[in-house]
């Protein structure tokens, strides 16, 4: 089985974001692998290990930070990886086309994993666009995956924590939710081994795709002001709770 895992570099969630020229962020910070993609890699490795002769290929689009996180993906179990080099931003329509072109160039997928969303831009759509381009079925927010002959049984999480069960014909695309598994983080030997694994570099010019007639263009990015001024609710517990109730009634107006 050939399993592709699309991974994305995202700013470390704890880092503060500095906006430059009102349009982009200062990238001098730590980038991490998108947390949902760690679930993808863990699941892909598990499926691969149960099927001798299978391989996991990590794919990422971006600048040098994309290359760094591909190294992490290799340490988390991918055999090899594809780095599509690009320094400019791409909208969701274009990203899906680029990923499809890169996968087409590399081989025929049996299964593709993506995270259910990236935690930076939260578009939540790349997997569906990739599925439409490849004309294969897609499900996102998967919390359970069972691969059988020619078929994937997938549970997704829906409203109020209910679960929906589906079967998808292979090849298919699965967007990993957080409940899918507990990510298996690399050990020191894994990291050492990853250094010797292949990162195949692809240039955008080498990829063939028809541009979309639609577009999404970022016009402006601005920092959200943290404008809450904390006020204390004081007094002994009884007084404090009375004051709390007053706030619920008169300010929050919920009782």
């Amino acid at each position: 089985m050939r399993i592709y895992v699309c991974v994305k570099q995202v700013p470390d969630t704890a880092a503060s974001i500095r906006v430059i020229e009102g349009k982009r962020i200062d990238e001098r910070m730590t980038f991490i692998i998108n947390p949902y993609d760690e679930h993808c890699l863990t699941e892909a490795a598990k499926i691969r290990d149960a099927r001798p002769g299978s391989e996991v290929i990590a794919v990422s689009l971006g600048g040098p930070s994309a290359r760094d996180i591909l190294r992490s993906a290799l340490a988390m179990g991918a055999e090899r990886s594809l780095h599509i080099q690009s320094e400019r931003p791409h909208d969701a329509m274009e990203t899906a086309r680029i990923l499809k072109a890169a996968i087409d160039l590399d081989g025929k997928p049996d299964l593709i994993f993506t995270g259910r969303e990236s935690i930076d831009s939260c578009g939540m759509q790349t997997m569906f666009r990739l599925g439409a381009l490849l004309q294969i079925p897609v499900l996102s927010n998967a919390v359970d995956v069972d691969i059988q002959e020619g078929e994937a049984f997938v549970s997704t999480e829906a409203e109020l924590g209910s679960r929906l069960q589906y079967s998808l014909s292979l090849p298919c695309i699965i967007g990993a939710g957080r409940g899918l598994n507990t990510p298996k983080y690399p050990t020191f030997p894994d990291i050492m081994k990853a250094r010797k694994k292949e990162i195949r570099t692809l240039d955008l010019q080498d990829l063939r795709f028809e541009p979309s007639a639609s577009s999404m263009e970022l016009l402006e990015l601005r920092t959200v002001a943290e404008d809450r001024t904390p006020r204390p609710i004081e007094g002994d517990p009884d007084t404090a709770v009375e004051e709390l109730i007053r706030i619920l009634e008169q300010e929050a107006r919920i009782i």
Partner: protein, 324 residues
Amino acid sequence: MMQQAGVFIEETDGRVKDSVLGVISYLRQKDVACCAFVISGSPGGHAEQLGAYGVHRIYAIEFQEEAQARNPQFKARAVAEAMQAAGVTILFGQTSPTGRDLLPRLAALFDAPLVMDCTEVDLEDLTVSTSAYSGKTEALYRVRGEYLFFGMRPNHHLKKPAAANPELIPFHAKHRDANGTAFIGKTDTADQGRDLNEAKVIISGGRGLKNGENFQLLFDCARELEAAVGASRVAVDEGWVPYTMQVGQTGLKVNPRLYIACGISGSVQHFAGMKTAGLIIAVNTDPKAPMVKNADYYLLGDLFEIIPKLTQKLKARAVGKKTA
């Protein structure tokens, strides 16, 4: 000519969700004529409720077989067909579990732009505001395309009634190809709490709760407040409560009018899921906790004393009101 947009209707307990009525009210205030798309077993396509909020037309989508209504692929195809029949090229939905599946499928079908977690959409100059980088920034996008899709942030716009007399149009979906996707079944979780996405009030617990049993204190208080109960990642990772209760970066992003954080230190990741709440109240023993420093109100105290007292006083109040 008055501009026209579609709204995909989500329901809960056989009623249209308040958050969807909020989106309809928002569009109406912008002088946009709303066309509702309903996939529902309930006859009448919610005409009465949707009419009360100013919807002009309702497409009540019906399937050839009942099972198709549960297949996301059929659902998306059916809404696409109905949009074309209605001459609607702009569709609004919600950033909810339903919207997260349906809207990207539609956007992919039409190769059209989609922005999720929208707060404001300007249909004149086609710009849209959304959050980015864990809510630390706000992004403004311009979208271009023959079709446009928007997933609104739930509860960002509140519902406001305005009566209309909608035309109800039954629509029969024709699409027959499941595209390799088959629906097998549905399992409901045992804990049927309130929907965190829809909740006006959320009371959440973190490390300070110490174990799963103690969450009962929050559930008891939530009953009095008609609130949903949430949790921090720590509480979920410790196995105290299910993942479905997690608020934060890798959990649910919620937008209630009131958020009460009990024993939650307040990591950046937790704030990413609740920072848009109307009012934030922190109950914590640690005056240095980021939750305390970024709340509107903080109560420095032992939640094991404060929360039961609050529950008790709210109960007494409710009884007092009834007898009064």
